[in-house]
């Protein structure tokens, strides 16, 4: 659905996106993670033909965005953080204005979408009287009007309260379930991405440092929590035996191929009293923070 191939974007001397290659398959909820300034919005801008790439190729719905933008975006809806509207006009008129940039849209279709997002009864009120949540619904309505196959959400949870974030998450899942949309979700709300996306890519300083499934991230081994009667001596022994690679005050990192059972057995045999030992599941947050603190080196660099 979205294909970025060796995409580069420079703003003057600043490299905003560096050799980014990315694939978002049809029917998937794909998360784009990264700090502010990591290059997420620039990447999305290039997908929507708002930002011109300095190099590489961007394909959306099978069409090259640079040369066939209209065809590429015909079935795309987008929502940005703090969606902007013509506040002095009604919600309905805003929808009419925005949807007519895509294609003529019937009043029945607008009504259908207004009902779907739960704005019925308020659609003829001026947007300046809308709450933040209502503006978010209006943003969703304008994105759904052209009957999209792909929905691009750039920081949609920005500025929402916990209830709004919960509602947004449920809406994303509902969109995927009921309308079978492919969704690209750019966010730095890690828990939201963890709960909604199947696959993720992490951007750091303009380059992709990870792409894979959320399940893969979570199944990756995290720290093993260990409690013994003499923690320092136990860690020393495990190091001497080559069973661990790292240790902190509360946990240890086993050497590849070494299980918690094997470690426990060694400690018992050595006379330690083991109060607890268990494998901690890695959260997306642990994974992300570790990744951005220690990003993989650039290809071709030592």
């Amino acid at each position: 659905m979205i294909q970025l191939t060796h995409v580069v974007k420079k703003f003057g001397q600043r490299l905003a996106v560096n050799e980014l290659s990315l694939t978002v398959p049809r029917g998937e909820i794909f998360g784009l993670l990264g700090h502010n300034g990591a290059g997420k919005s620039t990447a999305i801008g290039m997908m929507l033909g708002q930002v011109w790439p300095s190099g590489g190729e961007v394909t959306v719905c099978g069409h090259d965005v640079a040369s066939h933008r209209a065809r590429a975006l015909a079935k795309v809806g987008a929502i940005f953080e703090t969606p902007a509207f013509y506040d002095y006009l009604s919600g309905w008129r805003n929808l009419e204005i925005l949807t007519h940039y895509s294609a003529p849209t019937s009043k029945a279709r607008i009504k259908e979408v207004v009902d779907w997002v739960g704005l019925s009864g308020r659609e003829h009120g001026r947007v300046k009287t809308y709450s933040h949540g209502m503006r978010a619904r209006l943003a969703l309505a304008q994105a759904l009007l052209p009957q999209p196959e792909l929905l691009i959400l750039d920081e949609p949870g920005e500025g929402l309260d916990p209830e709004g974030i919960h509602e947004m998450r449920q809406t994303i899942l509902r969109l995927h379930r009921e309308l079978n949309l492919t969704i690209l979700l750019s966010s730095h709300l890690l828990s939201e991405v963890e709960q909604t996306c199947k696959r993720i890519a992490v951007l750091h300083q303009g380059r992709k440092v990870f792409e894979g499934s959320v399940a893969e991230v979570k199944s990756a081994r995290g720290q093993v929590l260990l409690r013994t009667n003499d923690q320092a001596a136990a860690v020393k022994l495990l190091r001497e035996r080559g069973l661990i690679t790292n240790a902190s005050a509360t946990g240890i990192t086993p050497t590849d191929g070494k299980s918690t059972g094997e470690i426990a057995r060694v400690l018992f045999d050595a006379g330690f009293s083991v109060d607890g030992i268990w494998q901690q599941e890695q959260t997306l947050e642990d994974f992300y923070l570790n990744l951005v603190k220690n990003p993989p080196p650039l290809p071709g660099k030592n």
């Binding site: 703003f11 919005s41 620039t42 801008g45 929507l48 033909g49 708002q50 930002v51 011109w52 933008r69 209209a70 065809r71 590429a72 975006l73 015909a74 795309v76 809806g77 987008a78 940005f80 953080e81 703090t82 969606p83 902007a84 509207f85 013509y86 002095y88 006009l89 008129r93 009419e96 204005i97 925005l98 007519h100 940039y101 895509s102 294609a103 003529p104 304008q142 052209p146 691009i152």
Partner: protein
Amino acid sequence: MFYLQLRNELWKLFGKKRTYIGFGAFLVVQVLISLLFKLTKASRPMQRLLEGNGYLPEDYISALTIATVMLIPIAGLLLPLYVALIGGDLVAKEAEDGTLRMILARPISRVRLLTTKWLAGVVFSFCLVAALAVFGLVFARLTFPWGGMFVWMPEHGIFSVFNASAGLAHYLAANLMLTSEAVSLMGLAFMFSCFNIKPAAATILALSISFVDYIMFHIPFFSDYQAWFLTYHLQVWQWMFQEDFNWARIMESMSMLAGFNLTFLFVGCTVFQVRDIKS
């Protein structure tokens, strides 16, 4: 589809309060000028000029003459300011507010979007000048009788007297030509609006350029090059008050203004096409 998009642009333009606040300022000026001529001795020099040339002032100091006098400050000051504000807002304000990013997430080409916006600006300019022509005449008629029209524009060597019907025709023709000034200055501000600058900066740039252009074309050194100055051609409406239209002069200015406007639109489109639109 194009009609729908143009209609939407007009909704945006006419839906803003600011549009009407600016328009209100015009009406106030028209009323003030009308009252100034009625309640003070402002019309005395006009009377003397008419009498000196063998005309009866009471036949020619009329609603049409006062409505024509109103055109001078409006065309020279208020109209440029107002249309430059509108033109400067058309793109830059949307970029500033973030709505441009919402629009450009849609499959509309940038050139088409700009063409639609520019056309909306042209429609607005026509409506504005038409409304000013009608209101000017109405306010003048409330304080002055209907009658012949007298126009004196010494810098163009125009001294014309018309009966009421011919005067009305010349007044309407002048207003029609005044739309070319409104459209051109709107187009100049619109061009700057396509750059990555604030709306106010686009307006100020357009006004500054037209002001510098006006000063330069009045400098004797440039008298041989007058035909290359924008403001020289923006005065074409004044030539509609000649008793016999100078069609060569009018067509020259209209052709040059068409060229200026196409250039403004082309530059605007080119700059906008290569721009990155970011939040």
